[in-house]
């Protein structure tokens, strides 16, 4: 009788310990209403580790928790239109300006830039020795039907790639052109596929530097004027989205755009290389 009673008591204690323990976990994960703002951003930006670097630095100034949802550019913008965001931070200037024009965003400010690079397997590098710029590279890929990976997900990178094809007057789609593959995935996943399939892919330099599965791939084309990649930051318009926390959002945006913020952006390095270049105009 006593043994059984003591076992039952033990069970009750265990359960209670469990429940209490779980509630004492770091406050970010507890279920009380948290004070946070949401940034809709892109996977490529997140995968560079940019947010892991910069957000803790903001914690010294303000205790608003900043949650970054990283999806494709297209999805980020759509999410923001549905008011599931306080800030939009993507790298597709045309769409961003339309976003502001239609009233979803309050305004767009330049934040930073980097550039795109074309990468491919070392084995094919000889073919591209004579190539001087991105246009020639793409033309060669098209003519020689070299395997090419596209994001195919409406992201900033994807849109850049499509504009480059368009400017050459070349029509590509995965149905007609068997060498052109659309992954519909984020930058990292697409890079994995390119690396594994010995294909060529357009990627922003920051993502490429941070990518740890490079295998035999290397940079074929870089530095071209057409390959610049501009990041803009947009606070969500409280008129369209009454629940958006405009005060906290603008505080963060202004900090990023300030000298201090820009300095921090420029100081972010991976593998010894600078990934982003602040270009805010004050």
């Amino acid at each position: 009788m006593d043994k059984i009673r003591s076992i039952n008591i033990l069970k009750i204690i265990l359960i209670n310990v469990f429940l209490i323990f779980f509630q004492l976990i770091p406050t970010k994960n507890s279920f009380a209403k948290k004070n946070f703002i949401i940034i809709q951003s892109t996977t490529s930006t997140r995968d560079t580790g940019f947010y892991e670097y910069i957000l803790p630095k903001y914690n010294h100034i303000d205790d608003t928790e900043i949650r970054v949802v990283a999806v494709g550019t297209g999805q980020a913008i759509k999410n923001a239109m549905k008011c599931d965001a306080d800030i939009l931070l993507v790298h597709d200037k045309k769409t961003e300006e339309l976003f502001v024009k239609e009233g979803f965003g309050l305004y767009r400010k330049d934040l930073m830039y980097n550039d795109y690079v074309l990468i491919g397997p070392k084995g094919d590098q000889l073919k591209f020795k004579e190539i001087k710029n991105i246009q020639e590279a793409l033309k060669k890929i098209y003519d020689d039907k070299i395997k090419f990976i596209s994001r195919g997900d409406d992201s900033g990178t994807n849109k850049k790639e499509i504009i480059l094809w368009k400017n050459l007057g070349l029509k590509v789609n995965s149905q007609k052109n068997s060498w052109y593959w659309e992954t519909g995935s984020g930058m990292g996943s697409s890079l994995n596929i390119a690396v594994n399939k010995n294909a060529i892919i357009l990627v922003d330099r920051a993502s490429w530097i941070s990518f740890n599965n490079k295998r035999n791939h290397t940079i074929f084309v870089e530095g071209d004027n057409d390959l610049y990649n501009y990041y803009g930051i947009i606070p969500i318009n409280p008129t369209k989205c009454p629940k958006s926390k405009i005060g906290q959002s603008e505080k963060f945006i202004n900090w990023l755009l300030s000298d201090k913020g820009q300095e921090l952006i420029n100081s972010f390095k991976n593998n010894g290389q600078q990934l982003f270049f602040g270009n805010a105009t004050n």
Binding site: K3, I4, I7, F18, F22, I25, P26, K28, N29, F31, K33, K34, F36, I38, T43, D47, Y51, E52, E65, R67, V68, V69, A70, N79, K82, C83, D84, S185, G186, G188, S189, L191, N192, V195, S210, F211, N212, N213, K214, C241, K243
Partner: protein
Amino acid sequence: MIELTEIFKNSFNLIFTLNLDLIEIILLSLKVSCFSLFFSCIFGLPFGAFLAVSKFYGRGFLILFFNSMMGLPPVFIGLVLYIILSASGPLGSLELLYTPVAMIIAQFCLITPIIVSLTRQVLEQITEEYDELLKSLHANTKEKILTILWDSRYSLITCILTGLGRSLSEVGAIIIVGGNIAHATRVMTTAIALETSKGNLEIAVALGFVLICISFLVNLLVSLLKDFAQRFSYD
């Protein structure tokens, strides 16, 4: 093949250095899974018993419904919940999107059909056995449910562990409603997805191993407790 062993070596290194981030992710996984399992059991166990015990007009349909819901694609549930919880959706004012609570809700929707169907299945035999007795005692439905639930408690543990396994391995729904946000809604499974997509295969594999170990440990713990309790019980 050489690469593979490198990966495994790195994995074990990562585990044994007890990365703080890793601990945070593991604890959140356990929390979300256990809470959702808890609520699923609170509803699912009695309801499964109810389906086993009562004969009523819509019973066949309900059984069919829950059986089919077991095969519900998680991404679909994630998507539906996302639309509902979005700021522009009907329950947007609750501000649950991108929080662990949304993940718990998603997992609740996915695990409950499993608990209900398995419970009903497990209890069918004992229900038939006790039927005449309970009828002769003129037990009402609630009393019948309590009787068969209590007498089958050890068999039900398997149902619950199945639910737990399912909830620990969930990724599709929770990545949509949770957003896989660092330090907020990132759990083991979503972290594996993330690290894989970043090309950090060692970390991804390490996390996978940890997940398997935890699942194994929990199952071990529960079966030990069960054996221990059974030895002192009257069955």
